[in-house]
Structure formats: C-alpha cells, structure tokens
Amino acid sequence: MSTPAEEAKPLAKKKKKVPFDYSPYIRGGKLPHIWCPGCGHGIVLKSLLRAVHASGTSQNDVAMVSGIGCSSRTPGYVDFNTLHTLHGRAITYATGLKMANPKLKVLVITGDGDALAIGGNHFIHACRRNLDLTILVYNNFTYGMTSGQTSPTTTQGKISTTGRHGNIDPPFDTCTLAKAAGATYVARGTAYHFQELEKIIFDAFMHKGTSVVDIIDACPTYYGKYNKYASATDMMEQLEKDGTVSVKQAEKLTPEELEGKLLRGVLHRSERPEYSEEYGKLVTSLQSKK
C-alpha cells in the first residue's frame, strides 16, 4: 500500500505499476476460504499464483493435487485441474496423473504432517524417482486442521495439544530429507518473504524433476496460541523473519550465529534424468524394436 506522501507525488515521476490480477486464477464463488485470519496459507497462495502466471503455462495444463489439511484445501479455490485427495497421499495421485499425462505440469500442495508423517514414504520415493512434480510443503510446524497436534517438524520444547509438556520428538528438516532422498531442486521460503518465495516457486515449477519447497508459514490459531506468540505478525517475525537466514547471509555468519535458524533460498540443485521422460524413452526404444 502506498503512503499518503507517495500518493501526493506527481504520477508522471512514478513508474506505473499494474497490480497483479489474481481473478483469472481464482474460481468464481469459492471465496471466502476456510483459513483463519493471520494464517500463512493465503499469502503462500498469492506467491504461488504469481509464479505460475510468470511461467506462462496455460491453466489447462496445470494440475494441482493436495492431501488433507488446511493447506490442502488450496486446490478448491484455484482454477486449474484440481484434485483434493487423502491425508498423506497427494504425491501418489500426482504420480499417477503425471505418468498418465506427462504434458501436465503438476503441483503438489501438502502440509508438514501430510508430507512428512503419514505421507513420508511417498515423499521420499517421489524424490528418488525424480518425477517432474513441484512439491510445496506448507510447513507450519503443526497439524492445523486437527487443531494443533505435534507434527514431524514441530520444534523440540514447543507445546502442542499432543505435546502438552513440551515436544520431545526430534524434528525432520524437510530440505535435508528431500535432498538425501534424491530431489533435484530443494529450496526453502517463507510467507514473510513472499516476493522471494514467488521466485523460488517459479524456479521449482520450471525445474524438470522432483522439486521440493519447504515453505515456513504460521498457524497463529494453534501453534501461535499454545506457544504464546503475541500475534500472527509476531509469529511471522519470530519464525519466518528472524528464524531464517538466506543462504547468502549465512555465508557471513558463524555456526553459533546460525544455531536454531533455518536456511532460506535454493539449498540444492542437481541434474538427473526425469522419470516420465525416462519411461517415454523406454517405450520408444521398445516400440522401435518391433
């Protein structure tokens, strides 16, 4: 938003910026969404839509597949080929769909619980295959939909409804896991750094192979409440702004200074044959033998 001072400046001097029009991507009559005030999921959606728009991909060629959770409700609001599936299984439906029609650009929307707990096995196997899927993990450190239980990314010591005395479970680092399992594009962004997030999602979407983006966003309603964050903005500042450092900034910091902070930006990028293309090659070679 512009300040009154800015508005007072003569227009001619200012570069005219056309606001991004989200409406072609939002399904008519499907808003308001179910997300709580202050939830990060809506901010992430804006970055996501801008990234898909920037890619120039026709909406007919985009499929969005999700599991179950607050984040997984995203496909119901956007005008793509959308599939809202079972808790933890988004990646498996997406795998079937992508292999059935490799021309589709397939986005997977999943939560930290959806992707890394119940869907953990599918997550690592997708990374191993390197099928061209863009997996966006909305990581709010908790199970939002079921009201704030411990998730596989909940920080140790934090309170949840199933970790009332402080969580003792060691968390997963989504990015380390994805890289180890073989994903060829691994990055982290936050809802706070929404412009940077747009670029990361764009990169992930354009990348051929399995790309994983760990997106830190806030669940003020549960994680925020139980862990005594003053507000949604306070949460964003503590978890997303101060809780992360960019890969570039990190170069200048000591291990002590990096303690407890998550790295932001592109964390891993490699080249490996993409699964549906490899399958296509197999089909071509078998058919030419006939």
Binding site: R27, N81, Y93, V283
Partner: protein, 404 residues
C-alpha cells in the same frame, strides 16, 4: 476373419490379458503373492504398447496412483492380495466417493495378517463389500476358471467405466495359479465400453451433474475441462458442501447408481436347478467342486443343483430368493468361516434350511465334503465321492465344469 487363438495360460495371465483387451493402459502395483504375475506381465507388456507401468512403494500408493491416472483419462488397474487389499481400503473409498473408474484385482490368500501366503482362501468376500468406511457402492466379480478371469476382467473394466466406480475382481489363489485353455477373442469381438465424456463447453461442465441421470460424464484432466475432485461430500460442481440436503442426496445417489442397475450387473450360472430340491450356492473355486458334487448326486438320483454367482456384489438377491422359494435346503460351501452364508440366510428368510460348509486350512472344499453334507452322516454312495488330491486336480481342469 482370423480364427480365435486358444492359449493355455495361468489365471493371473488371463487377468492381465483381459485387462489389455479391455483397453487398460495403466498399471500401478506392489508385489504380493499370489497376484504378482499380473504385475509382472503388465510390466513387460504395457511399455511395449505405449501404456504405463509403475511399481509403487506400497499398495496405498498403488490404488491412489491408478485413481490419479484414471482422472488423467486412462483405464487403470492394480492387483494385490489380502494384506495389500487391506491397505487399499481408504483409497478404494476415495475412488467410490470421487466416482473414478478403476479396477482392483484381489487374488485371495489365507488370512488374517500374513496368514499362509501361498494358501488359497475365499475370506475377502465381505471385505470387498464393506472394507472401506462409510456407505458406498460395491461391484465385485468372482470368476471360477482361468477363461472366466479373462472375460470377467473385461467386464470389470466395462462396469467401472459405465458406473464411474471402482470394480473389484476377486478370485482365489487356486484359479490364479491354475493353468487352463483360454480362447482369446479377436479385437472387437467382445464389447469394450469406454466412459462417457462431456460434450458441453468446458465452462458448463459439472463432474457430478445428474440432471440426465445418476452417472455424469467424466472429463480427463488436461482436456480443457478444469474441474475439481475431492473426497469430501460435494455438489454437482465437485466442490465441497456442508449442505445436509446435498449430502443426503449425494450419499443416496452413490449407492443407488449401482443398486438401481443391479439386474444389469448380476450374472449367474444355473446348473441343474430346474427341478432341484437341494440347491448349492457356491462361487469361485468352491463352485467347481460343487458342480462335480451335483453331477455325482444326480447319478444317485438326488435332485441337487447349483447356483453360481459371477457377480457377488451387489448380492444376487433375486436369484437366491427364487432358489429359496423352491428348494428345501441351500448349501453354501466357502473357503472361510462363514461369510456369504449370512447373505443367503438373509435372503432365504427362513423359507428353507441354509447350511454352510466352511474350511480355512487352505485346502479347497472337496466334492466329497459337499456330498457328505447333503447325504448327512448316512452310508456313503458307491461313486468316487472322496477323490484323492491327485484326481482332485484332474477334476478341477475338467472342461465341462467351466461351461454353463
């Protein structure tokens, strides 16, 4: 016209061949005895014919992948056995709710749990109907010979496409691994049905629009029809709803679309039933022994007959009803501890006696067991009603047991 090829093949092979005949171009699965051959044959054939084969990390992933693939426009299947079928239940419910045609093959083995993996069984007949939670439609076919597996797999794909719902083919390990002759029809000789696609403009398309009937046309993702699919209760446009009236309507319709068409889905074989006083209601491999028993009993002048369902769900109520009306006793042999017998009792409503023959030692129910049950504990007839295991297998491949 080219003559039809007769091939000697295994039940699981006949299943894969039937699927390819029906136009299946997508297989996702996870290996499990005694169904693995279906997967292995698919892995060899599908890439050669431009289809897709993918080995998934488990059976949950498999059923979900075929559902995704079906929404991408491909006829899709998976094959499994007890433990894998248990894992698939949530995905099965999703496909019912989202109305996505898929075919699931369950080659039944002994359970519960790992049971006796190579041992046959018929104990998933109830799970196939009730395994997934919530009220839902179920179409389950139950062939009894290798050739029948071929044709029933084609029928399974056709029914899945017609009714936009998962169809399960159940057969036991014996038939799955048995080898028999199958006459492979020419392309076009057996009807192959494809799902109805929308013809309206994409902006008009509603994936659950029932103004023209209970089953709406199904577009494929990527064809320009951008639609939404969810496992939540949804309205005609596919979007979630919490309107209790719409939920009631959708829940009713889901079950009704199969229930109202059960006469088209039912398929039974009747054998010596016209004047029967004793009816045997048997399916799958047990029906083969029952057929042998009927012939032996007829030789002794006992009026026995067989009713054999090829569609076990929806349950063949009217055929059993007619049977209960005219016989004194119905015998239900099953390789489980009594599952379908309760359905027979339900339909018979006390009009005749219903007796089960149950067995879970992984041995097939033998004709002698059925004959003994019918003759009571009285003196055994002189006919070879107590065959040894070796002449048992001869009986199982006897040709005229297969035709109706």
């Amino acid at each position: 016209m080219a003559t039809n090829k007769k091939r000697f093949m295994q039940g699981n092979e006949a299943c894969a061949e039937g699927a390819f005949y029906a136009g299946c171009t997508f297989f996702a699965g996870y290996p499990i005895t005694p169904s693995t051959e279906v997967m292995e044959i698919s892995s060899s054939r599908l890439p050669k014919t431009g289809g897709v084969f993918i080995q998934m990390e488990d059976e949950i992933a498999s059923i979900c992948a075929i559902t995704g693939a079906s929404l991408g426009g491909r006829k899709s299947m998976t094959a499994t056995s007890g433990p894998g079928f248990s894992l698939m239940q949530e995905g099965l419910g999703f496909a019912c709710m989202a109305e996505v045609p898929i075919v699931i093959i369950n080659v039944m083995r002994s359970g519960p749990s790992t049971g006796f993996p190579t041992g046959p069984s018929q104990s998933d007949v109830m799970q196939a109907k009730w395994g997934t939670h919530g009220d839902h439609p179920a179409i389950v076919l139950i062939p009894a010979s290798v050739e029948e597996i071929f044709y029933e797999t084609i029928r399974a794909f056709n029914l899945a496409e017609i009714y936009r719902t998962p169809v399960i083919v159940l057969y036991d390990e014996i038939i799955g691994h048995m080898r028999e002759a199958v006459t492979i029809p020419q392309p076009g000789e057996v009807e192959v049905v494809n799902r109805v696609k929308p013809t309206c403009a994409p902006s008009e398309y509603k994936p659950y629009d029932t103004t023209l009937g209970d089953i709406a046309p199904l577009a494929a993702y990527g064809e320009g029809y951008r639609f939404h699919v969810t496992g939540l209760y949804h309205g005609a446009d596919g979007f979630p709803t919490n309107n209790t009236k719409l939920i009631e309507e959708a829940g009713q319709r889901l079950v009704r679309k199969v229930e109202d068409n059960k006469e088209r889905i039912w398929k039974n074989e009747e054998y010596f039933l016209d004047d029967a006083e004793i009816g045997i209601f048997a399916y799958g491999v047990s029906a083969r022994s029952a057929k042998f028993a009927v012939r032996e009993l007829r030789k002794k002048g006992i009026k026995a007959g067989l009713l054999r369902p090829l569609t076990i769900w929806p349950f063949p109520d009217s055929a059993v009803d007619a049977l209960a009306e005219r016989v004194k006793t119905i015998i239900v042999p099953e390789m489980n501890l009594g599952q379908i017998v309760h359905e027979v009792e339900r339909v018979a409503r006390g009009r005749c006696e219903v007796k089960g023959i149950f067995r879970v030692d992984t041995e097939p129910i033998k004709p002698a067991q059925i004959i003994e049950k019918i003759l009571g504990n009285g003196p055994m007839p002189s006919a070879p009603v107590s065959p040894t295991d070796s002449n048992m297998s001869e009986m199982l491949i006897e040709r005229d047991m297969l035709d109706g």
